[in-house]
C-alpha cells in the first residue's frame, strides 16, 4: 500500500487498542501529521494504545518512527509490529533512545532583568581589575625593557610601525585633506556674513592643529590598527598560540603587546603631523577657490596669526592616544576565550572603547590646556 501521505488508524484487536500506521513516514512527509492524528484519535475515541502495527509502512526514518511512537504514547517497551526487519531495527533504535525533549524555558522577565544588570556590573568590575593588572604588567615589562633594551624586540616594532604608520599614510592624508577643505569652506561661508572671511584661515588652522587633525587620525587608527591588534591577538588566542608562548617562557605582553604599543606611540605623532599638513593643504586649496588667496598668502597669514602652541597641543595628545588605542586593542585581544566568534565581538568592542577613550581624554586635555592657558 503505497501512498503519498502517511495514514493513521486507531482500532481494536482482541480487546486492546492498536495504532495502525501506513505509507511513508519520513522527516519530509510528516509535516501535516499533527492534524491528521488528532482527527483519527477523535474518530476512534481511543485513549491509550497498547500496540503499534506498522506493517503497512513503506518508508521509514528515525523522525517518522519517533512520531509513530509518540502518537501511540509508547514507552520503551511497547510492542511494534513491522513488516520489514529493517523497520523493526529502526524502531528498536529509536525506542532505546527516546527521551523527553527538554521543556521550553519560560524565563522570568524581572529576574532575568536583575540577573542581566547584576551580571553586567560584575563583569564590568572584573574587566576593571583585569585592565588594572594588564596596565601594571605593561608598566613592569616596559621598565624591564628600559633596563635591557634588547627586550623591545626591535624587528617586531619595525614591522608593526610599518603596518600602522606607512600603510595608514594614504587614508589619513586623504581624509584630513578633505576635512581641511570642508572646514575652510564652512569658515568662509559663515564669516562672510561679518565681512571677516579672511579669518577662515585662522579658523581652519587652529581647528586642525588643536582638534581635528589628531582626533581624526586617532579615529582612523583605532578603526584600522586597534581592531587589527584585537583580531590578531584574539586569533592567536583561539589557536592556543599564546598558551604555547607562555609554556616556552615567552611573555606575550613582551612579545606581542609591547611592540605594538611602542609602534603606535611612535606612529601616532607622525601620522598626526602628516594629517595636520594634509588638512592645511586642503584648507589652503579651499581658500584659493573661495577667497582668491594664493597658497603663499594663506601660509603667510597663518604664520603671522596662529601661535605655535596650537600645533603643540595637538602633538602632545597624539602619543597618549596612541598608547590608549594600542593598549585597548591588545587587551581585548587577550580577553578572547574559546571560539572564533568571540574575536569578532571583541574587535567591535575594542574599536568602540578606543574611540570613546580618545574622546574622553581629548576633553580632559582641553581642560588641562585651558588651565595652563595655552
Amino acid at each position: 500500500m503505497a501512498s503519498d501521505q502517511p495514514t493513521i488508524k486507531y482500532s481494536q484487536r482482541a480487546g486492546q487498542s492498536v495504532l495502525e500506521v501506513g505509507g511513508p513516514w519520513t522527516v519530509f512527509s510528516i509535516r501535516e501529521i499533527g492534524k491528521t492524528a488528532a482527527k483519527a484519535r477523535a474518530a476512534s475515541g481511543a485513549r491509550k494504545v497498547a500496540n503499534v502495527d506498522a506493517s503497512a509502512v513503506d518508508q521509514l526514518d528515525t523522525a517518522g518512527a519517533l512520531e509513530i511512537l509518540q502518537l501511540a504514547g509508547a514507552g520503551p517497551d511497547t510492542k511494534v509490529q513491522t513488516q520489514e526487519e529493517r523497520h523493526a531495527e529502526l524502531f528498536k533504535l529509536v525506542q532505546g533512545n527516546m527521551r523527553k525533549a527538554p521543556p521550553e524555558r519560560h524565563p522570568n522577565w524581572i529576574a532575568g532583568w536583575f540577573a542581566e544588570v547584576g551580571g553586567t556590573l560584575v563583569s564590568g568590575l572584573k574587566q576593571v581589575t583585569h585592565l588594572a593588572a594588564f596596565v601594571g604588567e605593561i608598566v613592569v615589562v616596559f621598565g624591564l625593557a628600559c633596563l635591557s633594551p634588547r627586550r623591545f624586540r626591535f624587528p617586531a616594532v619595525i614591522k608593526q610601525t610599518y603596518e600602522v604608520w606607512i600603510r595608514a599614510l594614504t587614508i589619513v592624508g586623504v581624509l584630513c585633506f578633505l576635512i581641511g577643505v570642508v572646514i575652510a569652506y564652512q569658515g568662509v561661508q559663515q564669516l562672510k556674513q561679518f565681512g571677516a572671511e579672511t579669518f577662515a584661515v585662522e579658523a581652519t588652522a587652529i581647528a586642525i592643529f588643536r582638534e581635528l587633525g589628531v582626533l581624526f587620525t586617532a579615529i582612523i587608527v583605532a578603526g584600522r590598527s586597534g581592531s587589527a591588534f584585537t583580531a590578531q591577538i584574539g586569533t592567536m588566542q583561539v589557536n592556543l598560540e599564546i598558551d604555547a608562548m607562555r609554556t616556552m617562557g615567552l611573555n606575550p605582553v613582551e612579545w606581542l603587546v609591547l611592540p605594538r604599543i611602542v609602534a603606535l606611540t611612535l606612529a601616532m605623532p607622525l601620522l598626526t603631523f602628516w594629517g595636520d599638513m594634509a588638512g592645511l593643504l586642503g584648507g589652503a586649496f579651499a581658500c584659493t577657490i573661495y577667497l582668491d588667496f594664493t597658497f603663499v598668502q594663506f601660509f603667510e597669514r597663518m604664520r603671522d596669526t596662529v601661535g605655535i602652541w596650537n600645533f603643540y597641543t595637538g602633538m602632545i595628545k597624539a602619543p597618549v592616544f596612541g598608547i590608549v588605542i594600542a593598549a585597548i586593542g591588545c587587551f581585548e585581544g587577550l580577553q578572547v576565550k574559546g571560539s572564533a566568534e568571540i574575536v569578532g565581538q571583541l574587535t567591535t568592542k575594542s574599536v568602540v572603547e578606543a574611540i570613546f577613550c580618545v574622546i574622553v581624554l581629548d576633553a580632559i586635555f582641553s581642560v588641562i590646556f585651558l588651565l595652563a592657558d595655552v
Partner: protein, 294 residues
C-alpha cells in the same frame, strides 16, 4: 636511501589494470550505485594536478573507507563529490543525479539527501547543539517547533550524548562530544548518504571504537551509504566493507582481503606495516570473540 624514500620511489610504479570504477575485482553485480565518479580531474589553478582519470564507485548500503598518503587528495575528492570544489573534467553522479551544473531547487533536494561530517565538526558556533541539529530540519523539512525539538533530542541520544548537551554551545564541548554533535547534525534529515571526514581523528581509542560502532549501527538500521576519509586502520578493519586507496592520482578500491593481496609497494606498506598488522590482528580476535559468544 632511507626507508621512506624507498617507499615513495616504489609508489611511482604504475598500477595494474583495474575493473570498472577502479575496483580490483568487480563487486557491482546486482548493486545500485550511490556515487559514480568517472574520468575525474581536479587541479588547483594552473598548479598541481590532484586527481587525473579517476574512476570511483560507491554502492548503496556499504561503508567505503577512503585512504591515502598525506597530500594525495582524500579530502579534496570528498569535497569535490559534495560540490565544494569544481572538477576540471569528468562526471560525478550522486544518488543518480549528475552534480555538474546543478543549482537551485534540484541542488537543495540533493543536499537534503546527504549529510556531511567535517573534520572538526564545523558546528555553528553561535548556536547550541540542539539548534545546530534543528537548522537543516527547519530549512528542508519544515516540521513544527515541538516536533523538531523532539527529533533533535532523539538525534542527540542516538549519537550517545547526554541530554543536557543539547543546550550547550559547541565551544563548551570536548573534541569527542563535538564530533558526536556534528554527526547528529549530519544525521538530522536521515540522509541516504553520509560523508565523514576523519571521524575518529583526535579521539581516544575507546571513543574512537565507540564512534565506529555507532556509525556501523546507524548505517545498518538506517540503510545508509557511508564514505569516510580515515587514517584509522582500526576503523577500516572494523566497519568498512570496501576500502578505496588514492594512488597515483587515481583510486584503487577493493575489500580488505583484496587489498592485502594487492601487489603495490605503498598499499603493502600501509596494510602490512606494524600498525596495519596490529589493527588486523585486533579485528581478527574481535571476530573470534564474537563468534564464541554467538
Amino acid at each position: 636511501m632511507s626507508d621512506t624514500a624507498a617507499i615513495e620511489k616504489a609508489a611511482e610504479v604504475h598500477l595494474p589494470e583495474l575493473q570498472e570504477g577502479g575496483q580490483i575485482s568487480d563487486h557491482s553485480k546486482g548493486r545500485k550505485v550511490a556515487i559514480r565518479v568517472r574520468g575525474l580531474k581536479t587541479q588547483f589553478g594552473e598548479g598541481k594536478v590532484i586527481h587525473e582519470r579517476l574512476d570511483f564507485d560507491a554502492f548503496k548500503g556499504e561503508v567505503v573507507g577512503l585512504v591515502g598518503g598525506s597530500g594525495t587528495g582524500k579530502s579534496v575528492l570528498l569535497r569535490t563529490i559534495i560540490g565544494l570544489i569544481r572538477q576540471r573534467e569528468g562526471s560525478i553522479e550522486v544518488l543518480g543525479t549528475d552534480t555538474k551544473g546543478l543549482f537551485g531547487e534540484k541542488e537543495r533536494q540533493l543536499q537534503s539527501r546527504w549529510g556531511v561530517l567535517f573534520q572538526d565538526g564545523a558546528l555553528f558556533s553561535s548556536l547550541t547543539v540542539a539548534e545546530n541539529i534543528i537548522v537543516p530540519l527547519r530549512e528542508h523539512a519544515g516540521l513544527d517547533e515541538a516536533m523538531m525539538r523532539e527529533v533533535a533530542s532523539l538525534k542527540i541520544a542516538l549519537v550517545g550524548l547526554p541530554a543536557d548537551a543539547g543546550d550547550k554551545k559547541p565551544s563548551e564541548l570536548s573534541g569527542g562530544m563535538r564530533k558526536r554533535a556534528a554527526l547528529a547534525r549530519a544525521l538530522a534529515l536521515d540522509p541516504e548518504l553520509l560523508f565523514l571526514d576523519e571521524p575518529t581523528a583526535g579521539l581516544d581509542p575507546i571513543s574512537a571504537s565507540l564512534f565506529d560502532r555507532l556509525v556501523r549501527r546507524l548505517q545498518q538500521s538506517l540503510g545508509l551509504t557511508v564514505l569516510m576519509v580515515t587514517h584509522d586502520l582500526d576503523s577500516l578493519n572494523a566497519i568498512c566493507d570496501r576500502v578505496a586507496v588514492l594512488l597515483d592520482k587515481r583510486v584503487v578500491a577493493g575489500t580488505m582481503d583484496e587489498l592485502l593481496a594487492f601487489e603495490h609497494p605503498w598499499i603493502h606498506e600501509y596494510f602490512h606495516g606494524p600498525r596495519g598488522r596490529a589493527a588486523a590482528r585486533q579485528a581478527g580476535t574481535g571476530d573470534e570473540q564474537e563468534g564464541q559468544r554467538g
